[in-house]
Amino acid sequence: MVYLEVKNLSKFFGTFQAIKDIDIEINEGEFVCFLGPSGCGKTTLLRCIAGLETQSSGSIIQKQKDISIEPPSNRDFGIVFQSYALFPNLSVFSNISYGLINNKWKKDDIKKRVNELLELVNLQEHTSKYPSQLSGGEQQRVALARALAISPGLLLLDEPLSALDAKVRVFLRKQIRDLQRKLGVTTIMVTHDQEEAQTMADRIFVMKDGEIIQSGTPNEIYNKANSPFIASFIGSMNFIPASIDDSKKVRCNNIEINCDVGSYSANDNVQLAIRPEEIQFQQENQDDNVVPGVIKEIEFLGSFQRVYFETKNFSDELIIVDVPSSNAKKIKMDINNEMSLYFSKEDARIYSI
């Protein structure tokens, strides 16, 4: 069931158009991410949905009700910010109960509800502390509990993990995701971190320059990126200039590549894209593409090793190859070793320039 609908939404700041005619539909209980580089309009879109910004045109429909011109106080949402925005002079308890007090809850009920929420975010022992006495991760969990206290129909997360340490971030990612599943609350998260979006979202909306340029499950976005921008923004990607020859084959310099050319026609200039982890140093299939060259540099990155590979007659730039560390032991990889790269027909994609 569609829970939230955004129709033809545009937002101007002066003459700058931050959001360009956006249409989206979000289903009840879904966890979606607005993903994109800074300045792409994702936060503005979220704030329009909350009513914290007013759109220039277009409408927003929540639960079949047009809320386009409602002030934020008449909309049904909870929000969590990157800066936590916890009230510094109120204890954890008072912060979480902040929204309950006004809505005429009884004292005992408030207490019960707050304890329930504290349990939900694992902060039972911190009830009477002040925000400044908590770590960043703990503060963000309090902020989450505060937003959830009034059981909003829609949860908005504005870069909630960006201010935290890497370890805490990974931990909270899972906690927020689990919580969201458990409560089934429709959630929109804004982030510029593709890994975050991929691990947490049911559906990702990739944004650029105020537009949604692709939407889909994390898997679809990763494997079927519809533009070189998304392909390089989500994960990493080798791009190699190529052209289509008369026999509708792809050519990079002198090497002919075996892959699906799709709708491109002869003499089109295109680029070939291959992910570093999809390239091997060992042949797996008979029809794999083969590119000879020399190892120029090896970076040790823990679980995998990143190899910079110089090719002849293929690409002017070094090709990046990620080799899982477990595999790397089996192959003798040394700088200046002459080796060959292999990649399958399915893993090679073609984009226009």
Partner: protein
């Protein structure tokens, strides 16, 4: 299709939005009534003749033909510039000693340096009369020159403006990245070169800002030249003479405009340089911590000791003069100078001053804080908020004397429905609040800016009206700056002269004004006693403030101190 493509659609408003909008509108009306329209009345007065007919710039050309008046402009500029140079140099060294050296007794020196803030500017002039006047102790030191004139004005001005300069320069010098000095040291830069290439440029905007603030203060001050100026006329005393002495309001208005223009220019340069100052220090900077350097520390210690001694001697002499029987012939101590009945005054003016200070502090703080809150936190009516912000900054550019005169013209007009506040305590309170609006406003704006701008968003999402959030979070968090503002308003209301000299009536005489009149009548000892009364109250209020900060704030601000306790 939306015809106005770039404009936002009209969003619905909730009750807090409507209340906010209404209040913002009230601020516009208040500023129009108590700032803009009076200044308009002043301008139009300067373009009228005695019968109220419009005569263009005739008064101005009359002014330019009057060499005596022109001489006053020169005199005003002269004492203002010389005082500014002296104050900036002294205050810079003093601030440097406090922020950049390991000189001992820093706390003591900071405290002493702020003493002049507690007294009206005329106290310095009175003390100088005792030291260097016709019957002064150190009269010979002036080598036959008289203290009544530029020398006295400059000395007294330096004394009372010194703490103002010190506050700006201390702030400016403490904003310094120690990494810069470490980099210089690693590159084998000499200390002197580091001083001229890092310290001075870093404090550049602070110095510029100080210079313009001090210039304006001295240029527009009335009390000091009135008491110790003798026959040396300046613009401020000219306005007073034209208005009170000769009842020539038109010429008073013209001179006011002459006073207003340099003050305006100074104000805009100051605003500009302050904006520049902020960007110098980033969040990644490491705050400078001075290292011990025996020679420098000792030189600075002696320098600061001399200044501190002078300050103590000044206020000490004013106090001594207030309790001496008959200077310089009978030096027995007495309290009879505090009996103002003899001079036909009584203590009424003192009580009036205290009353004025209380009202100004209470109403001023509320009005200023709510005003800055509306400007900073309201989400709608951006255009209107910008106008209110502009109005809030304006008073700083308007000298007190000019504002006072403008009030006469505006509120004393027969057809003004607000005429009833003329010659009452109300007009004094309103005038004083407006006069000291800007500094207080900037303090509260800064405090509000430091709060997370998403607090209101969170509140809205939790369906809590903004005014509840204001009570529960904004106000408690901002209590320390609010106390600071109220103290600032109180002390300034006690000590101000220039703002109220035209506005008091028989029933609302004020202590600072009475001190001037006592001095005028030759009752210097009583003038000193009256000025000292102001000091006592200021000190008492400051002490109370300190105690409140320690006891009350410790309770409401527990979350602040907890940071220190746990980390």
């Amino acid at each position: 299709m939306n015809l106005f493509k770039f404009a936002d659609i009209r969003r619905g408003k909730d009750s807090s939005d409507r209340v906010g909008q209404f209040m913002l509108g009230s601020y516009i009306i208040l500023f129009l009534l108590f700032l803009v329209l009076p200044l308009g009345a002043l301008i139009s007065k300067s373009l009228e003749n005695k019968d109220g007919e419009f005569i263009g710039f005739a008064n101005y050309s009359l002014y330019l033909q009057e060499p005596a008046l022109f001489q006053s402009l020169y005199n005003s500029l002269f004492v203002a510039i010389i005082s500014t140079i002296i104050v900036v140099v002294l205050a810079f060294l003093f601030a440097y000693a406090i922020t950049r050296t390991c000189m001992p007794f820093k706390g003591f020196f900071k405290l002493v340096a702020l003493i002049p803030l507690l007294s009206p500017s005329i106290l310095a002039a009175i003390a100088l009369v005792y030291w260097f006047g016709n019957q002064g102790v150190l009269k010979e030191m002036l080598l036959g020159k008289s203290i009544y004139g530029p020398i006295g004005i400059i000395m007294a001005s330096v004394y009372w403006t010194f703490p103002h300069a010190l506050i700006i320069l201390t702030t400016s010098l403490s904003l310094s990245d120690s990494r810069l000095y470490e980099a210089a040291e690693v590159l084998k830069t000499s200390k002197l070169r580091a001083f001229f290439t890092i310290t001075i440029p870093g404090a550049r905007y602070g110095i510029i800002s100080t210079a313009f603030v001090i210039f304006t203060q001295v240029f527009t001050d009335f009390g000091v030249p009135k008491v110790i100026g003798g026959n040396y006329n300046v613009l401020a005393t000219d306005i007073y003479k034209e208005v009170v002495g000769m009842q020539n309001f038109q010429m008073g208005a013209v001179i006011s405009m002459v006073l207003l223009v340099p003050a305006m220019i100074a104000f805009f340069i100051d605003r500009y340089s302050r904006k520049k100052q902020i960007s110098l220090l980033t969040s990644r900077s490491v705050v400078f911590k001075p290292k011990k350097h025996f020679k420098v520390d000792m030189i600075m210690l002696s320098f600061c000791s001399v200044l501190a001694l002078i300050i103590i001697l000044m206020i000490g002499m004013a106090q001594y003069g207030a309790i001496v029987k008959f200077w310089p012939y009978n030096l027995n101590l007495t309290l009879k100078n505090y009996n103002f009945e003899v001079a036909g005054l009584g203590w009424d003016s003192f009580y009036n001053s205290v009353q004025l200070a209380f009202y100004t502090a209470i109403f001023g703080t509320i009005i200023i804080f709510v005003g800055s809150y509306l400007i900073e936190k309201l989400r709608i009516n951006e255009g209107t908020r910008n106008i209110v912000q502009f109005f809030a900054l304006m008073p700083m550019a308007v000298p007190g004397l000019v504002l006072g005169l403008a009030y006469i013209f505006f509120f004393n007009a027969k057809d003004n429905p607000l005429n009833f506040i003329y010659a009452t305590m109300i007009i004094l309170v309103v005038n004083t609040i407006v006069h000291f609006y800007t500094v207080s406003h900037l303090t509260t704006i800064t405090a509000l800016k430091q709060m997370d701008k998403e607090f209101e968003s969170v509140s809205l999402s939790l369906k809590i009206p903004i005014y509840k959030m204001f009570w529960r979070v904004t106000l408690p968090v901002c209590l320390p700056p609010i106390f600071d503002v109220s103290i600032y308003l109180f002390v300034n209301a006690m000590t101000t002269v220039s703002g109220v000299i035209f506005l008091y009536s028989y029933d609302t005489t004020l202590a600072s004004v009475s001190a001037i009149h006592l001095d005028e009548q030759g009752e210097v000892a009583k003038a000193a006693a009256m000025a000292m009364l102001i000091v006592y109250v200021s000190v008492a209020v400051r002490l109370t403030h300190t105690i409140i900060t320690k006891k009350v704030l410790r309770k409401t601000q527990a979350w602040r101190y907890n940071i220190l306790d746990t980390k």
